[in-house]
Amino acid sequence: MRLVAGVGSGSQIIEGIQYCANQTDVQIISMSLGTTSASDGQDAMSLAVNCASDSNYRASCNVTPINSKIVVVAAGNSGSAPGTIGAPGAAEKAITVDAAANWSEDGKGELSPAVDRRLRVASNLILPHLAYVFCRPRQVTRPVISAIAVLLWRHLSQPDRSR
């Protein structure tokens, strides 16, 4: 779904997260957006991500999601220094992703902070049968991770793993 065209407000983003959180057939929310200012993960947008992702947060949520979603967010382009990830990537429950600067075994994040005291999965990917996938441009990284996350979840939640 399209929330904004280029630039939008935080309330628009939150409304979109909440809308997706209440869709039964939505498994994953994937967003390539964020604030330019850093966040400690306690802003309204990040909290909306937490609400969509984990039932433990629902007591403080304005909207109760139908079921828990996997939320993947782009890490942004503000550099690798601590405290440079904005919202909603700073959300505790977000899987915030970054791309690699080059094709190498040590390919580090290009412009985005990778951790910032939270998980920031990043860099080159290794996919089944395809070996590594070098995601460039960076915009490719997030949708790839999103697809992988869905596949992993389906695999994990399959009761009979022998199939």
Binding site: I95, E105, L119
Partner: protein, 164 residues
């Protein structure tokens, strides 16, 4: 009898289960990297995502790290002085892994033209004949320089771009 995946401890939220899997299977890099648990840092995060390993772990299978491929090559094409962009690279025996084919991909900036008449492209709407400009050829040579395969019609088979 159906069993819950043991990786889903205490009915963990999907995002936690997936994230834990991605982290535990990642290959640690960066200044905090060691041989122990993943130590994320600002540049590398949890490290290189080893999705192959993550999938294996999700299924309770092999958890050995996936080797970083040694056969990747990247070549910027250069102008050889005659308006041709060339980008040869060699594939050595060290690059070849038994049972794994190698592939070459060319990314080239250009546009579609009508081969019949560039000034009247509607002809190609009727007859076909759209092709990518500039053209590209790819050749696979043996160590003596003999062409094993290649050309604009052999490897590429068809034009590389789609119209519209």
């Amino acid at each position: 009898m159906l069993e819950q995946n043991p990786l889903l401890m205490n009915n963990a939220a999907p995002v936690d289960a997936v994230r834990d899997l991605l982290i535990s299977s990642a290959q640690d890099r960066g200044e905090l990297s060691n041989n122990g648990p993943i130590m994320p840092d600002n540049e590398y995060g949890a490290g290189l995502l080893d999705v192959n390993r993550a999938v294996a772990q999700a299924g309770g299978g092999d958890t050995a790290p996936t080797l970083f491929p040694r056969y990747h090559r990247y070549k910027e094409m250069v102008n050889n002085g005659s308006q041709q962009l060339i980008g040869p690279f060699s594939i050595t025996t060290e690059d070849i892994v038994a049972g794994i084919p190698f592939a070459a991909t060319v990314t080239i900036e250009g546009n579609l033209i009508c081969a019949w008449d560039q000034n009247n492209p509607q002809i190609c709407d009727i007859l076909g004949g759209w092709e990518w400009n500039p053209d590209l050829d790819m050749y696979l040579l043996d160590d003596k320089g003999n062409i094993i395969s290649g050309g604009s019609g052999d490897i590429t088979r068809s034009e590389c771009a789609l119209s519209g």
